[in-house]
C-alpha cells in the first residue's frame, strides 16, 4: 500500500490503515509531544488527541506530500491548547537586563535525548513553550505572539529567560563534570 492508498483508506475509516499510519509517524510525533509536555503521560495524551484530530481532518488535507509537516503542526497546536488554560504569560525579565554572560555556543552532543527532554521540561511552562516554538520549530517572535495572543516583548523575554536557564544548566553540568574529572 503506497502513501496515497494508505491515506485514502484512512479517510474511509479503515482501522487497519489508520493503525499503519499511526505506526509510521507515532514515534516522531511523540518526540514532538515530549518537548512540549511535563511528563511522558502528558505527551501520550497529546499524541492521542492529535491522532484523533489527524484522522478526523485527513480528508481536508490538500498536499499529501507534506503530511509529516501537517501532522507535526497538529501536534504542536494540540500541545499549545493543552497549555493554554494553565498559561498566563507576561514579561518576566526586562529584555534590556538579560544576563548575556553565558556562551552562545553550546555542546549538546554529550547529552542523551531523554536528558535534553528533561532539561526542557524543567523550564517554567511559558518558557518551555516559547523555547520550543522559537528555537526548535523556528517561529519568529512575531508569529509566536500572534499564535499565543501575547505581545512580542513577552515572547522575547520568556525566550530569553528560557535560554538563560538552559545555558545556566549546561554550564553547571560542565562544571560538575570538570570537578568529577579532577
Amino acid at each position: 500500500m503506497d502513501d496515497n492508498e494508505l491515506l485514502a483508506a484512512c479517510i474511509r475509516d479503515d482501522r487497519v490503515a489508520q493503525r499503519q499510519l499511526y505506526e509510521k509517524f507515532a514515534a516522531r510525533l511523540m518526540a514532538v509531544g515530549m518537548r512540549y509536555s511535563r511528563s511522558r503521560a502528558e505527551a501520550e495524551d497529546i499524541l492521542q488527541e492529535s491522532f484523533i484530530k489527524i484522522f478526523k481532518n485527513l480528508g481536508n488535507l490538500r498536499e499529501r506530500s507534506n503530511i509529516g509537516a501537517w501532522m507535526k503542526k497538529i501536534v504542536i497546536n494540540t500541545a499549545i491548547n493543552h497549555k493554554r488554560g494553565k498559561l498566563y504569560l507576561f514579561p518576566m525579565v526586562d529584555v534590556e537586563k538579560i544576563n548575556k554572560s553565558y556562551d552562545e555556543s553550546v555542546a549538546l552532543s554529550d547529552y542523551r535525548l531523554d536528558e535534553l527532554f528533561e532539561m526542557i521540561r524543567r523550564l517554567p511552562l511559558g518558557c518551555q513553550l516559547i523555547f520550543n516554538l522559537f528555537a526548535i520549530e523556528g517561529f519568529s517572535h512575531k508569529e509566536i505572539a500572534e499564535k499565543l495572543n501575547i505581545s512580542e516583548g513577552t515572547s522575547k523575554s520568556q525566550y530569553s529567560r528560557a535560554k538563560m536557564l538552559l545555558q545556566k544548566r549546561i554550564a553547571e553540568d560542565r562544571k560538575n563534570s570538570y570537578e568529577k574529572l579532577r
Binding site: 516522531r28 498566563y88 518576566m92 549538546l108 547529552y111 517561529f139
Partner: protein, 458 residues
C-alpha cells in the same frame, strides 16, 4: 518562520531534535482505537437524539395546534356561544328528548319512517339546491335526503321523530357553521347544535406575565484527576488572557478543595402559559439569572506588570520555582471571594393541577435550558483582582447547561383578568457546566422562589 541564521544556540538544539523519535506506549493506540469507535457511536447517538427531539417537538407542536383548533379557535368558541343561546331559547333541545343523537342518521329516519315512527320534513325546494361538494351522492344511505346548510338556516326546520314534531327556530349564520364532510348538512347543523350545547364549559386559558425569583445557588464544584495547582476555579483553567497562573508547579502546590457556599441569587423574566386540558398546564418563558456563590481564599499572588493580586488556594508550603510571580503572600487571613454566574434561562414546564377552585395548586416539572453568559470572580473589598470568564473555545465552561426543574405553584386570580403566581422550585444540572478539559467540575443546583403576575387571556 524566521531564518535560522547563525544562531548557534538554536541550531544546536534544533539539530538534536531533528530526527528524534520516542516510541509511545502501546496503550496510546488502544486509546485512539477506542476513541475512534466511541466517536462513531456518539455520532449515531446524536442522530438518534436529533430524531427523538424532532419527534418530541412535532408532538408538542401537534398538541399545541390541536389544542388551539379544538378549544381556542374563534369559530369554535362562537359556535359554542351560539349553541348556548339556542339552549336557552330551546330548552327542549338540551333535554335531548327530541333530536336524534349522533348515531342516528337522517337516512334512518327518512328511509324507514314507519319503523322509526318519524319523518323529516323541510323546505323541499332547497333539497334540489344541494351543492355537489356537499351532496351525499357518495354516501348511498343518505342519498337526496339532506337539505343544504343555507336552506336549514334560512328556514325553520321541522323534525318529526318518534311521533313528535319539533321546530328549530334558531338560525345560525352559514359561515359560522363548520363543515363536516361525512354527513355534511346534518352534521353541520346537528353536531353544532347538539354537541356543543351539551359540551361542558372547558377551561380555555392563556396567560403571559412577568416574574422575579430569588433563592440559593450552589455551583457544586468538585475536582477531578486533572486538578493541578491553584485548586479553585479562579485561575487554573481560565482564559489565558485573563488568568494568572503559577505555571505547572503542581508538585509544590497541593490544592485544597474550597467549599463553595450557596448565596442569594435572583432572576427575572417573562413567562407565558396555557391550560392544555382540565388538569394540565404548559408554561415557558425567558429569563435572566444572576447566581452567586462564595468561598474564601487563603493566599494571593502578585503578578503581571501592574502587580495585580490574584487569589488562589493551597495548603502547599514549598513555593520555590513559582514562575513569574513577583510576590507570594502567605500571611493573609481568609479573604471572601465571590463567584457570580450569569445565565439566560429558557424554562419549559408542565404542570398538573391538584386543586382548581378559587386558586390553583399545581405540581410542576420540566427542563430549563441555561445559556451561560459569564462567570465573574471578585473580592467584595476589591483587594483582589476581579476576573471574568466568558463562554468560548478556551473557556472551562460549556455554553449551555440543561437543568431539571420541579416544584409546586399556586395561581391566585385577582381583578378581572390577572393572576398572581408563587412557584418554589428546585433546579438541578443534568449535565456539567464545565467542559471535560477543565480541571474542576460544576453541576449547579438552585432552590428558587419565583413570584409573578400575569394577564389572563380567556
Amino acid at each position: 518562520m524566521k531564518s535560522s541564521g547563525s544562531h548557534d544556540f538554536e541550531n544546536a538544539w534544533r539539530q538534536q531534535f531533528e530526527n528524534a523519535a520516542v516510541e509511545p506506549d502501546d496503550r496510546v493506540w488502544a486509546k485512539i482505537d477506542a476513541d475512534l469507535a466511541n466517536r462513531k457511536a456518539d455520532a449515531y447517538k446524536k442522530r438518534v437524539l436529533f430524531f427523538k427531539l424532532m419527534a418530541a417537538a412535532s408532538f408538542l407542536f401537534a398538541l399545541g395546534i390541536g389544542y388551539y383548533a379544538f378549544f381556542l379557535s374563534p369559530t369554535r368558541m362562537q359556535a359554542t356561544e351560539k349553541a348556548r343561546d339556542i339552549e336557552t331559547e330551546n330548552p327542549v333541545i338540551s333535554s335531548g328528548a327530541v333530536m336524534p343523537d349522533d348515531s342516528t342518521s337522517l337516512s334512518d329516519m327518512q328511509h324507514s319512517p314507519e319503523q322509526s315512527g318519524g319523518a323529516v320534513t323541510g323546505n323541499q325546494d332547497h333539497l334540489q339546491e344541494l351543492p355537489a361538494s356537499m351532496s351525499l351522492a357518495d354516501n348511498s344511505e343518505n342519498e337526496a335526503i339532506v337539505p343544504d346548510n343555507k336552506s336549514i338556516l334560512e328556514n325553520d326546520l321541522k323534525l318529526t321523530f318518534t311521533g313528535q314534531e319539533r321546530v328549530l327556530k334558531k338560525r345560525l349564520p352559514a359561515d359560522k357553521i363548520p363543515y363536516t364532510p361525512r354527513y355534511p348538512a346534518f352534521r353541520s347543523i346537528g353536531s353544532n347544535i347538539l354537541e356543543t350545547a351539551s359540551v361542558r364549559e372547558s377551561p380555555k386559558e392563556l396567560w403571559a406575565g412577568i416574574n422575579m425569583a430569588s433563592g440559593l445557588f450552589d455551583p457544586n464544584i468538585t475536582y477531578g484527576q486533572r486538578t493541578s495547582l491553584i485548586g479553585s476555579a479562579f485561575a487554573a483553567d481560565r482564559d489565558s488572557q485573563q488568568a494568572t497562573t503559577l505555571s505547572n508547579n503542581s508538585q509544590y502546590l497541593k490544592p485544597e478543595k474550597p467549599e463553595y457556599n450557596a448565596r442569594i441569587s435572583y432572576s427575572y423574566g417573562i413567562n407565558m402559559g396555557t391550560r392544555l386540558t382540565d388538569k394540565w398546564i404548559l408554561t415557558g418563558g425567558v429569563g435572566y439569572q444572576l447566581s452567586k456563590s462564595s468561598t474564601t481564599v487563603n493566599k494571593y499572588v502578585e503578578a503581571g506588570d501592574e502587580s495585580a493580586r490574584y487569589a488562589f488556594q493551597s495548603n502547599g508550603t514549598d513555593f520555590n520555582n513559582l514562575d513569574g510571580i513577583k510576590s507570594l503572600n502567605l500571611s493573609v487571613s481568609e479573604i471572601d471571594y465571590n463567584s457570580y454566574f450569569e445565565f439566560l434561562s429558557v424554562p419549559v414546564n408542565a404542570g398538573y393541577i391538584l386543586i382548581d377552585s378559587r386558586f390553583k395548586w399545581i405540581i410542576n416539572g420540566g427542563i430549563s435550558t441555561e445559556f451561560f453568559i459569564k462567570n465573574r470572580l471578585s473580592d467584595p473589598d476589591n483587594f483582589l483582582e476581579s476576573v471574568e470568564i466568558y463562554p468560548g473555545q478556551e473557556s472551562p465552561y460549556n455554553s449551555m447547561l440543561f437543568s431539571g426543574v420541579f416544584g409546586t405553584s399556586i395561581y391566585l386570580p385577582f381583578l378581572k383578568n390577572y393572576q398572581a403566581t408563587l412557584f418554589p422550585s428546585y433546579r438541578f444540572g443534568l449535565n456539567y457546566l464545565t467542559r471535560e478539559s477543565a480541571s474542576f467540575n460544576s453541576k449547579p443546583s438552585a432552590f428558587m422562589i419565583n413570584a409573578g403576575v400575569s394577564y389572563l387571556f380567556k
